[in-house]
Symmetry: C2
Subunit: 269 residues, 2 copies
């Protein structure tokens, strides 16, 4: 199996996203290997050696995705036995020309603590945790968004993703069996109705997830899942709450859809 | 201010990472705008219009970062009044040549639920939440890693990031004031010593964070912060626990360093 290296003087997240986006176009399996924080000549030589070792062992040139701007380190990496894909090189000069400004590369540009969005993101994570699963219904004035839905419809991972990636303060509130007799918007949610966003999910998928969590329970029964979903969807429609069905979407996709639908401003790009 | 558009038929995460990595090389401020889920001709026309409107309003051509593979949509976007940066175009043919395989582009390749890593990631998020802050010390056999450290040294956001991004099951356990008289590894951690990873932080930074949380408390005092940090660092050294100082690092950097130091295998690239 061909090996793909993702290497960087920082986290290598950019190299990973770059390489993965390209490799995902090909119906081929790869062995992935990340080498992060290559911040000096010595580490660059070690990385080069690791790449050369794979070539020697497998006879196939590894693919090497990188974003180095330091010329000394780049020279070492570019001299390895891998096939180099430097994602910056094709774009920097055209951008310089279009902007009329020279590039001023420095290390740790994109995923460091020095972004002014960073505090926002950590505050948002703490907010999401403190306001998970209806644990703090008096605190919704500070929410950017309040996700609602039945248990296991995707509220918590989505709240955390919105917080970690975008610095968005997402609370979430569950509608449970106790609410279902006559489901309505609780009084403490009413003043924040503009911030409420609903999640729903297909009954079959919900059952699967709940059975995994609590097999042979009323909670995981087909009848209960269907009833709860019917009730919340009725509520969303009645109250004109925007909602999406999370069944076929990842947290990344659910979050991107929520941003797109609500127009919420993120704190990080 | 120049506007940068990040547009995609999916989440636009790849376009954002791509564009942001490039723009971060320039000492220039940009207005950022994402348009996600451009899945048909109609939405492509709307996106084109939005780009053209910015040009008309500002007189400056917006930068447009995209990764479209659908030729019809690409043609519409490429005909807009922005400056197009298509991050795939420079790399796909060379890769096809090197791999001897034709690219088979399809939408939603990189951030969808269809990756086999997805369940891992959601399981890991649930694990991180259930095992946050020492809440479940009987469950460490299932952990991939157990982060330890004083309160507010970065354990929780790092655990969540490891889970969400990499599908790594990260528990975390806090050393508190009660432990400090004679700090040692608790008995329930001893069988899992190989999985333990320590965080520490500069006392001044810790004080700042704790004062924000609980001003004028013993918890946030200089003396208490220094004492706790001295004790945990002594413990890490005595027990030969790997650790890093989180002060100047983002959760992305802390996580990447942990992966690099421990060699932990992630479930997602």
């Amino acid at each position: 199996m061909r090996t793909a290296f993702y290497i960087s003087d920082g986290t290598a997240i950019t190299s990973e996203v770059f390489g993965h986006a390209l490799l995902s176009l090909f119906p081929v399996d790869f062995k992935h290997q990340t080498i992060s924080f290559i911040e000096n000549i010595e580490k660059a030589e070690q990385a080069k050696q690791a790449i050369n070792d794979v070539y020697k062992r497998t006879g196939e040139k590894p693919l090497v995705f990188h974003t180095f701007v330091n010329p000394e380190i780049r020279m070492i990496i570019d001299s390895c036995d891998g096939i180099i894909y430097n994602f910056l090189e094709h774009f920097v000069s055209p951008l310089e020309k279009h902007l009329g400004v020279e590039a001023k590369p420095k290390a740790h540009r994109t995923h460091s603590i020095n972004q002014n969005s960073y505090e926002h993101r950590i505050d948002a994570v703490n907010y999401a945790l403190a306001n998970d699963d209806g644990s703090n219904v008096s605190n919704y004035a500070h929410a950017d968004i309040i996700l609602v839905g039945v248990s296991r419809s995707g509220k918590t991972p989505t709240s955390l993703y919105l917080a970690l990636q975008y610095g968005i303060k997402a609370a979430n509130y569950p509608f449970t069996d106790d609410d279902m007799d006559e489901l309505k918007l609780p009084d403490f949610l009413k003043p924040h109705k503009k911030k409420i966003f609903g999640l729903t999910i297909d009954a079959e998928r919900l059952m699967d997830i709940r059975v995994n969590r609590l097999a042979n329970s009323k909670y995981a029964s087909a009848r209960q899942c269907r009833m709860e979903l019917r009730e919340v969807e009725k509520l969303y429609k009645k109250e004109k709450i925007s909602y999406i069905n999370s069944t076929r979407f990842s947290v990344e996709e659910i979050s991107a859809k929520i941003l797109s639908i609500t127009g919420l401003q993120r704190h990080k790009y």
